[in-house]
């Protein structure tokens, strides 16, 4: 009991410290502004107050609160990190440090990188100064990722890389790429290595892909005789598949947890409120279209079930921060929720939700339309809906393939 009380006292003291630091360092004008998201999407480094906020969080290490202090992280315990998040949420402060480096590559690097790689690459992620992109998929290696053919040939003191990656998110803005490459043609999974490639290397060409949303968040990336120093091999030669899969677990955990709220478009209010505006209410104050009302209720219940599941998973995980197999469930449930919401929002807005650009539509209406289109990708990237279901069926439920 005494130990628990002393821990509580420490945590409350940390809360006071965090609150005090945020009061002094968070520019109130940035309340509810997602600096990390905005800069990741548009490829600019934040300036003004946004830049200041990023610098301060970077210096404190609180953008990556649980990462080791040794590499510039916050060195906080999971409980402290949770308190920090609570205090940030209280004042609408969003973490200004983000992107693939923080979400996916950093945790993997901390687990599999050697000391030299960690010292070299973690600080740039912690400060948000170095952007990473993911060199995984290829035109003929999508769901069947291990079919990848981008070659890294051992040339003695370096690897020579040739091939093509696709869906490299943010490659046009990235400084570095973590890449799965083939280093042995005789084996499938055991012939893949995990290589870190400087995007400024000669021989790399990046072509943005225009999506159905009108945006180009992904690229095709071509490697032609790209020289990569041997020290950039992370983990063992031909041991990249395990590392690559571990990274995907971090990715799926990140993708799923945003479900139902990510990519909402411009109007942050609940669907019920938006529907009352667009569809009107009956004499009892109910949404005038009963069919739509029932489906909104269905969606809200699904969203609540998802939120409760996240809460339960977090409670069960307690101090264990490693994502488990349950993350695969989260991704499918969360991404479907996001897509359902986007479709419902469109239906609520009627023709007003079907504008592309220009006059006649409000900014948040266009944003909702584009978010609906962009959101179709969430059941495709980071392991498709089908692949996630395979993982659930085979690894969790123990169901076998055709024998």
């Amino acid at each position: 009991m005494a130990a628990a009380e002393s821990l509580n006292a420490e945590l409350e003291s940390f809360r006071a410290e965090a609150r005090d630091w945020l009061a002094k360092n968070f520019p109130p004008s940035l309340a509810n502004v997602d600096v990390a998201m905005a800069s990741a999407m548009a490829g600019f480094k934040p300036s003004g107050n946004a830049g200041l906020w990023q610098e301060r969080m970077a210096a404190k290490g609180w953008g990556t609160p649980t990462w080791p202090k040794q590499y510039g992280g916050g060195g906080l315990s999971p409980q402290e990190a949770k308190i920090l998040t609570q205090e940030m949420n209280r004042i609408g402060a969003k973490n200004p440090i983000g992107g693939m480096g923080v979400m996916m590559f950093g945790p993997t690097l901390l687990e599999y990188g050697n000391d030299e790689q960690k010292s070299r690459h973690v600080p740039g992620i912690v400060t948000g100064q170095v952007r990473w992109c993911q060199g995984y998929s290829e035109p003929n290696a999508g769901s069947d990722l291990a079919a990848l053919r981008t070659q890294a040939v051992d040339k003695g003191d370096h690897y020579l890389v040739n091939g093509q990656k696709v869906w490299t998110s943010g490659a046009q803005y990235a400084d570095w790429c973590f890449c799965l490459v083939r280093t042995d043609n005789t084996k499938k999974h055991e012939g893949i290595s995990f290589l870190l490639i400087d995007m400024r290397s000669p021989g790399i060409e990046v072509r943005p892909i225009k999506l159905i949303s009108g945006f180009s968040p992904f690229c095709e990336t071509f490697f032609t005789d790209v020289t990569v120093p041997k020290e950039n091999l992370m983990g063992p030669l031909n041991g990249g598949w395990t590392i690559g899969k571990r990274l995907l677990q971090f990715e799926r955990a990140g993708l799923g947890s945003g479900g139902g709220s990510a990519g909402r478009g411009g109007d942050a209010r609940g669907l019920d409120q938006i529907a009352k505006d667009y569809v009107g209410v009956d004499e009892k104050g109910r949404i005038a279209d009963p069919d739509l009302r029932a489906r909104i209720a269905q969606h809200q219940m699904d969203a609540k079930a998802f939120a409760l599941t996240i809460q339960r998973a977090q409670a069960e995980a307690k101090s264990n921060v490693n994502p488990s197999a349950v993350t695969s469930i989260m991704k499918n449930a969360g991404s479907r929720l996001q897509q359902d919401r986007a479709e419902l929002l469109l239906e609520i807005m009627g023709h007003r939700g079907l504008g592309w650009e220009g006059e006649g539509f409000a900014g948040d209406e266009i944003a909702a339309t584009r978010a609906w289109l962009g959101g179709k990708a969430v059941t495709i990237y980071g392991g498709t809906y089908e692949i996630q279901n395979n993982i659930i069926a085979k690894r969790i439920l123990g169901l076998l393939d055709h024998q």
Partner: protein, 378 residues
């Protein structure tokens, strides 16, 4: 497939070969990327009129071929397959039906030959908000000497920017929400006091918002009977819904065919992905829905031609099912194609986008489920 007569078969086959040669999806893409403000290619529309499609429903005495709605639906299904953008629905079906059902001889004589020849484009301006709600007509028409003055707004009018003549639903008595007191008027697209704002929508068609400010029309602009416009309007709308459902069916069939081809050719894990049972079952479900919906669409068209007593219910059934079908198939089209389906260079997104606009036009699945229940008395 409905049992077709020789004429219907010929027209359908002609439509099939014309769209594949002259109006493939690449033509739509080209129109879109050219920034065409009409939302359709006028040269292609002229060819369609040349082949007689603009006059399918128009009696021979007014320059058309006097065929039926099923025939019109067959052509719309084919143009739907390749997302051909044209005023075929707005002019040759909707505005034409309004004149056929409500027009007097003088009005028919003036407009139907022009419609049939593709020399004039007609459309219907009805809704005043983002949702289909025929009775909620508030745009007012007040008597002005022998004629009328129209003031108010119409939203999201199909081909509203290009139309030469617009069938306008106006309120002549009562209040918004009343079915009595609505009158249909024929208003020139160039009328003084009419402002047209062309909109850029996800499906890149020629939708426009219209603002009427004391637009003067003569007594001869009234289509049908003053205050009694709602009943013919509903009949026009049911024809519009059945026709649009046919177009949507065609587009859904093409979405499905393209996806099925991909399932048979895309290789992952050393086999074509169509060998995976999870995908096979979803393909089978889509095929089932396609067949069920085809029956509904054809029944609505044939019902109109035969003067069935349940045309409204058949039209709502067809439109609701076509909406749900195409959402199912276009979503699966993107998902089963994976990343490539997310790219603008692939056709999947074009089908996905048009599906939503087509649903919202003349009432979506939700509207028609509700209407079906009302028509059935519950």
């Amino acid at each position: 497939m409905a049992i077709l007569n020789e004429e219907q078969t010929m027209l359908r086959d002609a439509a099939k070969s014309w769209v594949s040669e002259k109006s493939p999806v690449t033509a739509f893409r080209k129109m879109r990327d050219s920034g065409n403000a009409d939302g359709f290619d006028r040269a292609a529309w002229a060819e369609m009129a040349e082949m007689g499609w603009a006059g399918i429903l128009i009696p021979e005495e007014f320059g058309g071929s006097g065929l039926d709605y099923l025939t019109m639906g067959l052509v719309l299904e084919e143009t739907g397959r390749t997302l051909t953008a044209s005023p075929l629905l707005s002019s040759a079906l909707v505005a034409t039906s309004a004149l056929l059902l409500g027009g007097n001889d003088a009005q028919k004589k003036e407009w139907l030959p022009k419609f049939a020849g593709g020399k004039a484009i007609g459309t219907l301006a009805l809704d005043e908000g983002p949702h289909h709600a025929p009775a909620n007509t508030a745009l007012t028409a007040t008597r002005d000497g022998k004629g009328w003055k129209l003031s108010g707004k119409k939203s999201f009018v199909p081909d509203g920017g290009a139309a030469d003549i617009i069938v306008v639903a106006a309120r002549t008595s009562g209040k918004s929400g009343d079915t009595n007191g609505i009158t249909l008027f024929l208003v020139s697209g160039n009328a003084s006091g009419l402002a047209r704002q062309k909109l850029k929508t996800v499906d890149n068609r020629g939708v426009a918002n219209l603002t009427f400010e004391n637009v003067s029309v003569g007594a001869d602009a009234v289509l049908g009977t003053v205050d009694q416009g709602f009943s013919p309007l509903e009949s026009v709308l049911d024809r519009a819904r059945a026709g649009l459902a046919a177009e949507m069916l065609g587009a859904a069939v093409q979405s499905f065919d393209t996806t099925l081809d991909y399932l048979k050719t895309r290789v992952q894990f050393g086999q074509v992905i169509g060998t995976f049972q999870a995908l096979q079952h979803r393909a089978a479900k889509m095929f089932t829905e396609l067949e069920l919906t085809r029956s509904c669409v054809e029944a609505a068209l044939v019902g109109i031609d035969r003067g069935a007593n349940d045309i409204p219910a058949l039209a709502s059934l067809a439109k609701a099912r076509a909406s749900e079908l195409w959402h199912l198939v276009s979503n699966e089209m993107v998902q089963m194609h994976g990343g490539i389906g997310m790219t603008d260079a692939h056709d999947a997104g074009l089908y996905l986008k048009r599906a939503r606009v087509a649903e919202a036009t003349f009432g979506g699945a939700s509207f028609h489920r509700d209407r079906y229940a009302r028509l059935m008395g519950y």
